[in-house]
Symmetry: C2
Subunit: 235 residues, 2 copies
């Protein structure tokens, strides 16, 4: 059986080399939720970049530019990191450049993987189906928050592990912990997450609607896949 491991933050990636694996990058609040939503609502492709400067440079070339630092949009960009902004306006056919505090960094750090895909609750079944059809070992990489472990990414990793538990070997303690957390709290994820720091941060910033959307399951049957530096919807 193929192995499934969970890495709670990119800072621990050194123990889980991505080589030869399918890496699922997870940043529930909100980068990976936004990526799925953007592609589902007509964005042609997404270029994740590490810095604000790279994002600006692509904006100057005609890209739609989304940026987030400390939960907010720095000045001079077109969008922040709210998934809902892609539902409220029509950006069909545009190319999106995107930089966020955690999610885009997690992608950059796992570039040596055999394959990188993007996971969120809103496309969880598409993630599961894809993983079931691949033979490689699986690494669920939580983007975390500035290197720290967070609850929402761990919870999603647990949801994936829980759904695949009969078909894979759950291969590290973090995966077992995440799976148990999901198993216990699946019926009231928001109740569980309300003690989390990022939940509070988003509430303070007036993003309660984002939170609600980020916790919906299977809004889209779409899987973003990373190919030659860009994210596209898997055919």
């Amino acid at each position: 059986m193929k192995k499934l491991e969970v890495c709670f933050t990119p800072d621990l990636l050194t123990y889980y080399p991505p080589e030869g694996k399918v890496v699922v990058v997870i940043d529930i609040f909100r980068a990976t939720t936004t990526m799925v939503t953007a592609l589902a609502n007509g964005i042609k492709d997404i270029t994740p970049v590490a810095t604000l400067e790279e994002c600006k440079a692509l904006q100057n070339k005609g890209y739609l530019a989304a940026a987030e630092r400390e939960g907010k949009m720095p000045e001079g960009f077109d969008l922040g990191n709210s998934p809902l902004s892609h539902k409220e306006q029509d950006f069909s056919g545009r190319q999106l450049a995107m930089t966020t505090s955690n999610g885009t960094l997690a992608i950059t750090k796992s570039k040596t993987a055999d394959q990188i895909v993007i996971g969120a609750f809103i496309n969880i079944s598409a993630v599961i189906k894809h993983l079931q059809n691949q033979s490689q070992d699986i690494l669920l990489l939580c983007a975390g928050w500035k290197g720290r472990v967070n609850m929402e990414d761990s919870l999603f990793a647990g949801a994936v592990a829980y759904r695949l538990a009969k078909e894979v070997t759950i291969a590290n303690d973090a995966a077992v912990m995440a799976m148990h957390l999901y198993q216990t709290h699946q019926a009231d994820m928001e109740g569980f997450l309300k003690d989390g720091l990022h939940y509070h941060r988003l509430q303070r910033l007036g993003r309660a609607q984002d939170i609600e959307f980020c916790l919906k399951e299977d809004v889209y049957d779409l899987l973003p896949i990373y190919q030659q530096g860009i994210l596209i919807a898997k055919a």
Copy 2:
């Protein structure tokens, strides 16, 4: 209220500077359990060292020398890392030098703390009582396994957070996660831990009795405290 944070592995300690805090070092299987047992059974003091060479050097000066690598005792030492070895023989009055894969390293890495104490299920109430009587913020530092997160140390951190929850601010997501895991699995900790890698490792090595002992609560009313490079029983 004072803050309580959990750090799942010493590799993430950079996000939780020990300065000004009481750090509880946690290595349930088995270093911190063994330290408590050793002091409770007459060892005068314990010198935790990072390398086998340092441990040997102290052995040559007359110390009792305990060493563990990969769960086993390397050749030429007096003891491995089993807490039970301190109950089976009388080492009263001896000084113990000790090096283990994870636990002693966690102590070394938190040396800038205001205070370092040693926690295990076998002395959990002594840990709680001590933390209640201190005004500093609290950092529960899981030794983990070679940098990785492990279930048993996280579970103990959760037990401490759970017991102190009304008197402290639970200040990071790892603490909330650990607390929930303990809350859900406190009635059958061994049932929960049997999916953990370290549990399997110890079972394979024939250390089932160690596991059982390591999960007993309040065998000793004793708190090891780190002072000037050695661990002694707190007066």
